[in-house]
C-alpha cells in the first residue's frame, strides 16, 4: 500500500510565501491572545492555589457546592465539570493555597454533603503554596530553555560540523544566563532574552541548520502555547512536559528532512538549493505523513480514552504534532533558502 506515490513533486518551496503568511498570522494570533489574556493562564502548579476533585453518585447543582464551601470560608472558587459530564465529577479550584492543617478534607466533605444532600467522594486534593509555584515556574522555563539549547548545539554540530562554535555558544550562553540570574532577573524575561542572543549568535556564526531548527521549534512552541491560551486551557506541569516532547518530536521531522537535504546536496551538487530542498521534502513526505499520522493515532486515543487527568496533555501533544509536522515542511527548510537569499543580497 502506498499513500504518496514515488516521484511525487509538490511545489512546497514555491508556496513558501503563503506558508510564511500562514505561520506569521498564526504566531500573531497566538501572541495577541497571550497579550489579551495577560499572559498564559497558569495552573496552580505555577501560581499556587488549591484544587479539589470530587465525584458524586448522582447529579448535583454546582451552585450548591459553591454555597456549601462558602460556609467553611472558601470564597472565589471556580467549579468545572471534569471528564465526562455523566460521571458527575467536578474540579473545584481556588486561587489561594489553603493551609489544610485542620480536618480540611473532612470539612470539605461535610459542607458539600450538607449543601447538596449527596455524599461526595473526595478524589484528589492539591495545594501548592505561592513560593513553590514560583520555583516550579522557574524550573519549567529553565527546562524549556536548556533543552532548546542542547538540541541546537547537537544540530549545529551534526549538520554544520561546527562543534567548537557550538561549544563556545553554549559556554557563553550558560555564563551569561548565570550572571543575569545573579541579578535576580526573572526567568520570564531571561528566557526570551537568551533565545534572542542564541539566534543572533547562530546568525553571526553562520550556523544555518541550527538556526532553521530553532526557528521552527520556537514557531511550534508559540503556536501551541497560543492555542492553549485561545482555548482558555491552563498551563500545568504536565503541559510543560508535553511542550518539551513536542520540541523533541518536531525536531525529529526537521532532522529527517535536513538529513535528506544534506544527502541530496552531495548527490546532485548542480541543483539549486530551492530544487534540492523541494526534492528532499517530497522524498521524505511519505515517511513524514506516515509517522505523524501514526503518532497522532496514539495521541488521539489518549485524548479520547485517557481520562480527564491526561486530557489537556494529549491536547497539547495533538496541536504540537500537527504544527510540528507543518513546520518541518514549510518553516525549517525554507529558512535555509531565505538564509541563502539574504546572503546573496549582501
Amino acid at each position: 500500500m502506498e499513500f504518496i506515490k514515488p516521484n511525487t513533486n509538490f511545489d512546497f518551496v514555491g508556496k513558501r510565501k503563503i506558508a510564511y503568511g500562514v505561520s506569521i498570522s498564526l504566531i500573531l494570533i497566538s501572541i495577541l491572545s497571550l497579550v489579551f489574556h495577560g499572559g498564559p493562564k497558569y495552573g496552580i502548579d505555577f501560581v499556587g492555589g488549591t484544587i479539589i476533585q470530587v465525584k458524586f453518585p448522582n447529579s448535583v447543582v454546582t451552585e450548591n457546592i459553591k454555597s456549601g464551601l462558602a460556609d467553611i470560608g472558601l470564597m472565589n472558587i471556580t467549579i468545572q465539570t471534569f471528564g465526562d459530564p455523566r460521571d458527575n465529577e467536578y474540579l473545584i479550584r481556588t486561587d489561594k493555597p489553603v493551609q489544610t492543617n485542620d480536618t480540611f478534607s473532612q470539612q470539605v466533605k461535610n459542607s458539600i454533603q450538607k449543601a447538596t444532600g449527596t455524599e461526595p467522594d473526595i478524589r484528589r486534593i492539591e495545594m501548592v503554596g505561592p513560593q513553590v509555584g514560583k520555583d516550579l515556574q522557574e524550573k519549567a522555563l529553565f527546562a524549556i530553555y536548556y533543552s532548546m539549547l542542547f538540541i541546537a548545539i547537537y544540530i549545529s554540530g551534526r549538520f554544520d560540523f561546527r562543534w567548537m562554535a557550538c561549544a563556545i555558544i553554549a559556554a557563553a550562553l550558560m555564563g551569561s544566563v548565570y550572571l543575569l540570574s545573579l541579578w535576580h532577573i526573572s526567568m520570564a524575561i531571561l528566557t526570551p532574552l537568551a533565545f534572542i542572543i542564541t539566534l543572533v549568535l547562530f546568525w553571526i556564526l553562520n550556523l544555518k541548520y541550527a538556526m532553521g531548527a530553532i526557528v521552527a521549534l520556537i514557531h511550534d512552541v508559540i503556536i501551541t502555547v497560543g492555542c492553549f491560551s485561545l482555548l482558555g486551557k491552563e498551563f500545568s506541569l504536565p503541559i510543560i512536559a508535553a511542550v518539551l516532547s513536542i520540541m523533541g518530536y518536531s525536531l525529529n521531522d526537521t532532522i529527517i528532512v535536513y538529513d535528506r537535504i544534506r544527502e541530496n546536496l552531495h548527490k546532485h551538487p548542480k541543483n539549486t538549493l530551492a530544487v534540492t530542498i523541494n526534492r528532499s521534502v517530497n522524498e521524505t513526505l511519505s515517511r513524514t505523513i506516515l509517522t505523524s499520522g501514526l503518532t497522532l493515532l496514539a495521541v488521539i486515543s489518549l485524548f479520547i480514552f485517557g481520562g480527564g487527568i491526561i486530557h489537556d496533555f494529549a491536547l497539547a501533544m495533538l496541536v504540537g504534532i500537527v504544527v510540528g509536522t507543518y513546520s518541518s515542511i514549510y518553516v525549517a527548510s525554507p529558512i535555509l533558502l531565505a538564509w541563502q537569499n539574504a546572503g546573496k543580497k549582501k
Binding site: 500500500m1 514515488p6 465525584k55 493551609q99 489544610t100 492543617n101 480536618t103 480540611f104 478534607s105 473526595i122 478524589r123 484528589r124 486534593i125 495545594m127 501548592v128 503554596g129 513553590v132 516550579l136 524550573k139 519549567a140 527546562a143 536548556y146 533543552s147 542542547f150 538540541i151 547537537y154 551534526r158 506541569l237 504536565p238 510543560i240 512536559a241 518539551l244 516532547s245 520540541m247 523533541g248 518530536y249 525536531l251 525529529n252 532532522i255 529527517i256 538529513d259 522524498e283 521524505t284 506516515l290 509517522t291 501514526l294 493515532l297 496514539a298 495521541v299 488521539i300 486515543s301 479520547i304 480514552f305 485517557g306 481520562g307 487527568i309 491526561i310 496533555f313 494529549a314 501533544m317
Partner: protein, 526 residues
Amino acid sequence: MKNISWKLAASVLVVLVAVIYTIPTFMHGVWPYKKINLGLDLQGGMHLILEVEVNKAVESSLERVAQDLRMTLRKDQIPATGLEQMQGGKITVRVEGKDQIDKFDKVLNDSFKDIRVLSRNVENDVLTISLDLPDKEADRIRKMAVEQALETIRNRIDQFGVSEPDIRQEGDRRLLIQLPGVKDSQRAKDLIGKTALLEFKLVDENHDVNAALKGVVPPGSEVLYEVREDSQTRRTSKTPYLLIKRPVLTGSYLTDAKVQIDSQYNEPYVAIKFDKKGAQIFEKITEENVKKRLAIVLDNKVYSAPVIQEKISGGEARITGRFTPEEARDLAIVLRAGALPAPVKVLEERTVGPSLGTDSIHKGLLAGLIGSGLIILFMFFYYRGSGLIADVALLFNIVMIFGGLAAFQATLTMPGIAGIILTIGMAVDANVLIFERIREELRVGKTLRAAVDAGFHMATWTILDANITTLIAGLVLFQFGTGPVKGFAVTLSLGVVSSVFTALVLTRVIFDFFIVQRKIKRLSIG
C-alpha cells in the same frame, strides 16, 4: 554471518532481561524481583513538601541563651532588664551602674563566650548591649534543624506504618515526603506536621491570671490555654493558665510513650516514661512543689495542670486530655519519635484518592491498547510482512520499557503512561524510515539483500539524530521535573532508547533471518 550473531545475541539477551524484570509486575511471586513502582497519582497517596522554619530553631536557641543569662545574672545579683523580650532575633540587655556593668561584662566573658555582641553602648553609666548568635553557629543550627526534622519525621512515619515511604531533603530547608497508599491523609499530615514539643511548666501562683489576660503579664511568665471540645455538645472551651515561662522539664528526657486506658473513665491516655536524669529532675520538682500545679504543655497548648499531691519518683507520668484512641496513639508516636527542632509549614500538598488512581490506570491501559492496536493494524496493512516484523518489534519495545522501569526502580505515573503511548507512535517511526528507504532502494532496482542493507545503513544516522534530540528533551525534563512529570521523562527516555534498539538491532536480526537463512526472494513490504 558474524554480524548477525552478535546482533542476535544482543537481542535475545536484552529481551530476556526485560522479560525477567517485567514478569513480577504482572504475576506475583514468580521470582523475587520487584514490581514496577506506581506513582502516587496511580496508586493513591500523599505528596508533601514541607519547609522547616529554621529561623525558629535559631530563635529558640537564642531564647534558651537568654534564659540562662537571666538565671546567671539573678544568681550573681546583677539587675538587668530586657531579657524577657526578644526582638528581631536578638537580645537587648540594659544594665545600670558602673560596678554592675563590670560584673555583667565578667559574666558575659566567662560564661557566654560564644555569644556575639552586636552593639554595645554605655551612656551615663547605663549599658545597652545587643547579643545574638554568630552566623556560623546560626547556620549550624539551621542545618541541624533540617536534618533532625527529617530524621524525626522518618521515625514518626515508620511507626505510623506506611509501606515504602519516600522522605528526602530538597534544597536547603525543604523536605519532600511521599506516602503511597495513605488513606487518612489528614491524620498522616497531623502526625508529620506536629512539632510535638512537650514541656512541663509550673503554674505561676503568685500572680493573677485575669490581670495577665488584661495585658499585665509578669516578667518570666506567659499565658497559655487549655482547649477542650465537648464531644456531646461540640462546644469548645478555653481555659487560660498563667505559667512560668521556663520549662522545668521537657520531652527530650522521654524514653517511652504508650497508650493506656484509664480504667475509671474508660478513656485512653498516654503514659510517658523519663530516662534516669529526667526521672531525677521530675522527682526533685515534684518534691519541691507539692500542692502546687504543674502544667503539661504540648506545642504551647496546655493538656492538663494537675496539683502535685506528693513527690513522684520512678519517672512516670500520664498525659490525659479526652483523646480518641487514634489521637492517643498518634500522640504516643510523636512523643516517642521526639520533637521537631522547629515548626514545619506545608508548602505543597497533593493527595490522590485510591479510586482516582485505579480509574487512571484503567483509562491509560484502554488508551494504550486502542492506540497500539490501531498502529499495529495499520503497519500490517501498509507494509504487509515487513509491517508484521515491525509489530513484533513494537511489542518487544513495550516489554523493554516495562523491563527498564522495573530494573531502574523508576516510578510509573499517569504522564508516564502517556509517554509510553507516545513512544509507541514514535517507535514505529524508525521502522517507517527504514521501510521507506528499502522501498526506495528496491525501486532503483537493487537486489533484495542490497536494498535491505542500504535501507538500514542509510536510515541509521537519521534515526539516531532524530532520537537523540528527543532524548535530550527527555533528560532535561528528568533533571527539572518533579513527581508525575519525572515519570513521563523516564518512560519517554526509556522508550527512545528501546525503540532505537529494536529498530536497528532487533528488526535487522529478523530481516536477516528471513533473507539469509530462509533465502526468501521477494520481500513483502506492501
